[in-house]
């Protein structure tokens, strides 16, 4: 669930980042290779390459120990699309058209993480004795 929430945060900060840039341009700032990323760009980058893959990795580790039917599978898929998201992000610098897929794949990350969370919740309700993972 944290991962799906992370996608929402990422969408919010990247939109905010570009509005900040447009706002800076209005006050005469030059946007070029010298431009430092604003705080929202930095947040998007840090969450994207550090926090999100770490969360997906933790989900996979936890899924090994938790008895959730299909848990490992869905955790692995979540990690897979998260890594794909990072790859698409950097591929976008060379081929900006790929950047469109980065946007689309964000929904896949949120969707797959949602499925993994539901699997964990279902397992938690049917077998209450077992520790359920809510990610």
């Amino acid at each position: 669930m944290l991962i799906a929430l992370g996608v929402v945060v990422q969408a919010a900060v990247i939109a905010g980042a570009w509005f900040l840039v447009l706002n800076d341009l209005d006050s005469g700032t030059v946007l070029d290779k010298n431009s430092e990323n604003n705080w929202a760009h930095v947040a998007h980058g840090q969450i994207g390459v550090m926090v999100m893959p770490l969360l997906a990795l933790l989900l996979l580790i936890v899924s090994f120990f938790a008895r959730v039917p299909g848990g490992v599978k869905w955790a692995a898929i979540t990690l897979g699309v998260t890594i794909l998201q990072v790859v698409l992000a950097f591929a976008g610098f060379a081929a900006p058209i790929v950047g469109l897929l980065h946007g689309v794949n964000a929904f896949a990350v949120a969707g797959v993480a949602g499925v993994a969370a539901r699997k964990a919740r279902e397992a938690g309700t049917t077998v209450p004795a077992e520790p359920a993972t809510v990610s």
């Binding site: 070029d32 290779k33 120990f65 950097f90 060379a94």
Partner: protein, 460 residues
């Protein structure tokens, strides 16, 4: 039983996932102090092996400029005030002018830069010990310390100087200035720098003037001290690109309706008849009159001017190096991220290009990393032979700073005639601590200086 087996399998699975990650993390760690010349792996470029000798070789510390009475004697005092850096109270620092053959002496004094400072003479092929790279050719000058640089102004042209200690912050913050050798007394210097999002010329935003009566010839010396390429064009007059990186072009032809790309760290000299206005983008310009719209088209230096003898035969190269810039996920000194690679490897596991004095060297620069890289070789000028397989047909195009766009492949050649250990890195200075920092090393040359260490040397 079933539970314990399950737990065991889960633990093994967790180890299988985490183990390699932990190993990659550990393997990427760089020691706190190290000899740059001993990093990475030697690449002999197909020539004879030429190992570093650490005991009986030449020390970088002995490769210094000549003694004698300097013709130009300057003291530069570095100060830091927050993110702002100055030399003798201003940024850019004082413009240093000298004549060809002059012995230049510069005393660098660090008044208040806690991280330490150095000065690198960008584009001037100085003896290695005067190159000003912290941790390789000297120790960074600590607060209260001083360092004397001495070198002969051998080649006329437009150059600049800047700190090569924590340079991605210090150059951005203003620790740089112009160095002009054998210029006309009235040649305007246009130092382009972007301070906190404001593009400036010689420190001033907007349009500045230079004195030039209508009808007189002008030679404007443009220096890009920024991190990215800029487009420069002249409004109101046809212009000729008479020099690039301190080397005159042969038989340059008049240009109208096109801009010239100046890579980060690079210089161009533009000649035209006044009045004319030089625009560098971002609203900054020098000269009278109105700006014409920014030309879409660029002058291609590969076919500009006409050929002339190079003075050496690149066909007789004794070493051929590959310098392929890529980007991949990995750990750099324990930090996860997308890092620049050289020939597919991450710093410090990158090639050390090994040469011997007198070698003719060819190098193929390839960029498959997704972003532009202004590649800067210290201590040498190289000539461009081809781009993407198309041979150069214009004037010999000598460079010390080359704009290698994403997807481009350049072949360059130079004569290894300046012994030392030379940085060969990207001049988008933020990229250097991100791994884009290879070196050219001469056999038998070693350095007593260390990156890190007590002096806190951070050449990046």
């Amino acid at each position: 039983m079933r539970t314990s087996v399950r737990a065991a399998i889960a633990s093994v699975a967790a180890l299988v996932v985490l183990g390699p990650l932990a190993w990659f993390w550990y393997d990427s760690l760089v020691p706190g102090t190290y000899d740059m010349a001993a990093m990475g792996y030697p690449d002999y470029g197909g020539g004879p092996a030429a190992a570093h000798r650490h005991s009986d070789g030449i020390s970088v510390a002995d490769l210094r400029g000549p003694s004698g009475t300097p013709a130009v004697d300057v003291t530069l005092t570095a100060r830091q005030d927050g993110e702002r850096y100055t030399l003798n109270g201003s940024s850019p620092g004082p413009e240093i002018r000298a004549e060809r053959g002059d012995l230049i002496q510069v005393t660098l004094v660090n008044e208040s830069v806690p991280a330490g400072v150095t000065l690198h003479w960008h584009g001037v092929d100085v003896p290695n010990g005067e190159d000003g790279v912290a941790g390789i050719t000297q120790d960074a000058v600590a607060v209260g310390g001083r360092h004397v640089y001495r070198f002969v102004a051998r080649d006329a042209g437009t150059y600049w100087y800047h700190s090569h200690q924590v340079s991605h912050e210090q150059v951005r913050g203003g620790l740089f200035g112009a160095l002009i050798i054998s210029a006309g007394p009235d040649d305007p210097v246009v130092q382009v720098h972007t301070y906190q999002g404001r593009r400036t010329i010689n420190g001033k935003p907007g349009v500045s003037e230079f004195p030039a009566a209508a009808g007189t010839p002008v030679r404007v010396r443009v220096i890009n001290t920024d991190a990215g390429p800029i487009r420069v064009w002249v409004s109101g007059a046809a212009y000729r690109i008479v020099a690039v990186d301190g080397r005159d072009l042969h038989q340059p032809t008049p240009v109208t309706g096109k801009a010239v790309l100046v890579t980060a760290g690079g210089r161009v000299d533009l000649a035209f008849t006044a009045p004319g206005r030089v625009d560098v983008g971002g609203g900054a310009a020098a000269g009278p009159g109105e700006a014409s719209p920014e030309p879409r088209e660029l002058v291609d230096l590969l076919s500009y001017g006409s050929p002339a003898p190079l003075g050496f035969d690149p066909g007789r190269a004794s070493r051929n190096f590959d310098y392929r810039i890529g980007r991949r996920i990995g750990f750099l000194d324990g930090r996860p991220g997308m890092w620049w690679t050289v020939n597919g490897r991450l710093f410090p596991d990158i090639p050390m290009f090994m040469v011997r004095t007198g070698d003719v060297v060819r190098m193929t620069l390839r960029n498959v990393s997704g972003e532009v890289h202004p590649m800067h070789l210290h201590g040498h000028h190289a000539v461009v032979l081809s781009r993407n397989g198309v041979a150069a047909t214009g004037s010999p195009w000598w460079i010390d700073s080359l704009d290698v766009a994403d997807g481009d492949r350049y072949e360059i050649a130079f004569v290894a005639d300046n012994p030392g250990i030379w940085a060969d890195h990207c001049h988008h200075l933020e990229h250097v601590p991100e791994g884009l920092n290879a070196h050219l090393a001469y056999a038998d040359v070693s350095t007593p200086y260390r990156v890190g260490g007590e002096a806190g040397n951070v050449p990046e």
